[in-house]
């Protein structure tokens, strides 16, 4: 196991702990937006997808990369937009009748 991999593992484990601390404070009321919002964050795979789609080494790798970009982008855009749509519905007072 290389030193590089160990560093990556350290980052991974510490980030998991941060995740547990932060997420545990989210109230039940917001768990659905939390899921869709964290879904959007997992769309960060877009970075990897962009790199393999843009390297242009082999045609197959490019095709796989483009599909991956599309998948991850649905995740990112869909996740953030739908989360915003939900969160704007949460109000302290009933809205005046439209």
């Amino acid at each position: 196991m290389s030193e590089g991999l160990v560093i990556l593992l350290v980052i991974f484990v510490l980030a998991m702990f941060v995740g547990f601390e932060v997420i545990a404070k989210v109230p039940n009321t917001l768990h659905t937006p939390l899921m869709s919002g964290s879904n959007a964050i997992s769309g960060i795979t877009i970075i990897g997808a962009m790199i393999v789609a843009g390297m242009g080494t082999t045609t197959l790798a490019t095709i796989l990369g483009v599909i991956a970009v599309a998948f991850a982008m649905i995740n990112v855009v869909g996740g953030y937009v739908v989360t915003d749509r939900m969160l704007q519905m949460f109000k302290t007072k009933p809205e005046a009748k439209r």
Partner: protein, 464 residues
């Protein structure tokens, strides 16, 4: 330049964490989501400066298609269908990770390229987790959408088969480490991951899908993290770990709310269990009859009550009756009745689902109380109105050790002075268990579609 890009990823990851922190309160949550989105934008823009990227046309093509589809789904999806939507998004995240792994593998298989051991292991992990997430999520979404039968699909040696497949996948990965350059073996490994995903989710009953969606949410994060290991990217690893942690916490919460162990959900097949329980432990003497009540009488009870707690279940959402509930709530509040909502963690089809459905119907969120907050208030409540819920208010969970739901935390509606059930019929809930509360002398049944009944109640309260 590389240092600048790494810093941009650090900024993005920090914004994700800050964004998640702001999700701790509804007042700041929207801002938090925006922060998180800004973080993502920074990450994407920074990546465009990556020297490994030689051409942008294909990135743009994929990006535009994905954005358009994502926007369209997000704008048009119904709030009741949110679990399916989250399921599909989980799957796409996993799929993206699997595809990136395959693309990197293919590139490193070219003559002259070398595949370092660490990268190879990461690629195989990403393939397995990504593939399981993709196919598992599609099956879960299919079950929620009722395209695939929601009942547990069980067959003999299911778990043995899963184990064999996983072992086969792992040994193929090991084989490829020793002797790389066999595309056939790599493709088979990808297929195995997809098959395992299907086989893992198919035996789980529709009612347990909330747990599965949470678990797959976690997997989609872990898949992103493994992609980070494949391309040695810190930003991906941090973000993926955050989502992985989030999914794990939610999975635990849902398991606790259903009083099921995690392994029981995964290997259970709850529908099959409850059939046995129904034959064995029929609660109370059979043939007991519940007291029926008219909408008029219910409206009088409600209109002259001081406090009312509404306990909504998924039946409410199925009947699309959220708006009628809110209307009734407003009428009662105008008469000086205090109205609150008791939200059981599994009231919807995913964690927090019922809160979103009621928020959509314009119910202010401070009126929605969690089980722990509201249970002590039932004894001071005049009327508990149970709409489309059953198992989550069944006292058997507290006092009948033979009941399959024994030990599950429930809403203590039985402590209220009067309990009104809005129900279609006397049919038991998904667990197939009778509810002794139906036969309590304080309990009255208003039969009919929840929406129709609520419309009647609204009209009656107006004239009361």
């Amino acid at each position: 330049m590389a240092g600048f890009i790494e810093l941009a990823y650090l900024v993005a990851a920090s914004l994700f964490i800050l964004g998640l922190k702001r999700l701790a309160a509804p007042a700041t949550a929207r801002q938090g989501n925006l922060l998180s989105a800004v973080g993502m934008l920074i990450a994407i823009v920074a990546t465009l400066f990556d020297q490994q990227i030689l051409s942008f046309q294909w990135i743009v093509v994929g990006g535009v298609i994905g954005s358009a589809l994502g926007l369209w789904i997000a704008r048009t999806v119904k709030m009741t269908a949110m679990p399916q939507m989250v399921g599909i998004l989980n799957g796409l995240g996993g799929g993206a990770s699997q595809l990136v792994a395959a693309a990197v593998w293919h590139r490193l298989m070219q003559p002259g390229a070398i595949l370092p051991l660490d990268t190879a292991v990461s690629i195989y992990a990403s393939t397995l987790i990504g593939g399981v997430t993709l196919s598992g999520s599609i099956v879960a979404a299919g079950k929620l959408q009722e395209i695939i039968p929601g009942r547990p699909v069980l067959f003999r040696f299911q778990h043995v088969l899963n184990l064999i497949l996983l072992l086969a996948g792992a040994s193929m990965g090991t084989y490829l480490l020793i002797s790389p350059g066999h595309p056939g073996v790599f493709i088979t490994m990808n297929l195995i991951a997809l098959i395992v995903g299907v086989l893992v989710v198919i035996p789980i009953g529709g009612a347990d899908m909330p747990v599965v969606i949470c678990l797959l949410n976690s997997y989609s994060g872990l898949a992103a993290a493994t992609t980070g290991f494949v391309i040695s990217n810190h930003g991906l690893i941090i973000s993926g770990a955050l989502v992985g942690a989030s999914g794990i916490i939610l999975t635990q919460i849902m398991c606790r709310a259903m009083n099921r162990s995690f392994t029981n959900v995964l290997f259970g097949g709850f529908g099959a269990v409850s059939k046995v329980a129904l034959a064995g432990g029929t609660v109370g003497p059979s043939g007991k009859s519940a007291q029926e009540i008219s909408a008029e009488d219910v409206s009088i009870l409600l209109a002259y009550a001081r406090s009312v707690i509404i306990a909504p279940g998924y039946g409410l959402a199925v009947a699309q009756a959220q708006h009628q509930v809110r209307e009734l709530d407003e009428l009662l509040e105008k008469r000086g009745v205090e109205v609150k909502y008791a939200i059981h963690p599994v009231a919807g089809r995913m964690p927090g689902h019922m809160n979103v459905l009621l928020a959509e119907a314009n119910v202010p969120y401070p009126k929605l109380l969690d089980m722990e907050q509201i249970n002590s208030q039932f004894e001071r409540t005049d009327v508990a109105l149970v709409v489309g819920a059953n198992d989550v208010v069944n006292p058997a969970a507290r006092n009948n050790p033979n009941s399959p739901i024994y030990g599950m935390p429930i809403l203590d509606v039985d402590n209220a002075r009067h309990i009104i059930f809005l129900k279609r019929s006397m049919n038991p809930g998904f667990a197939g268990i009778d509810n002794e509360l139906f036969y309590n002398e304080k309990t009255f049944m208003l039969f009919g579609d929840a929406r129709d009944s609520l419309i009647k109640l609204v009209n009656e309260v107006k004239t009361a």
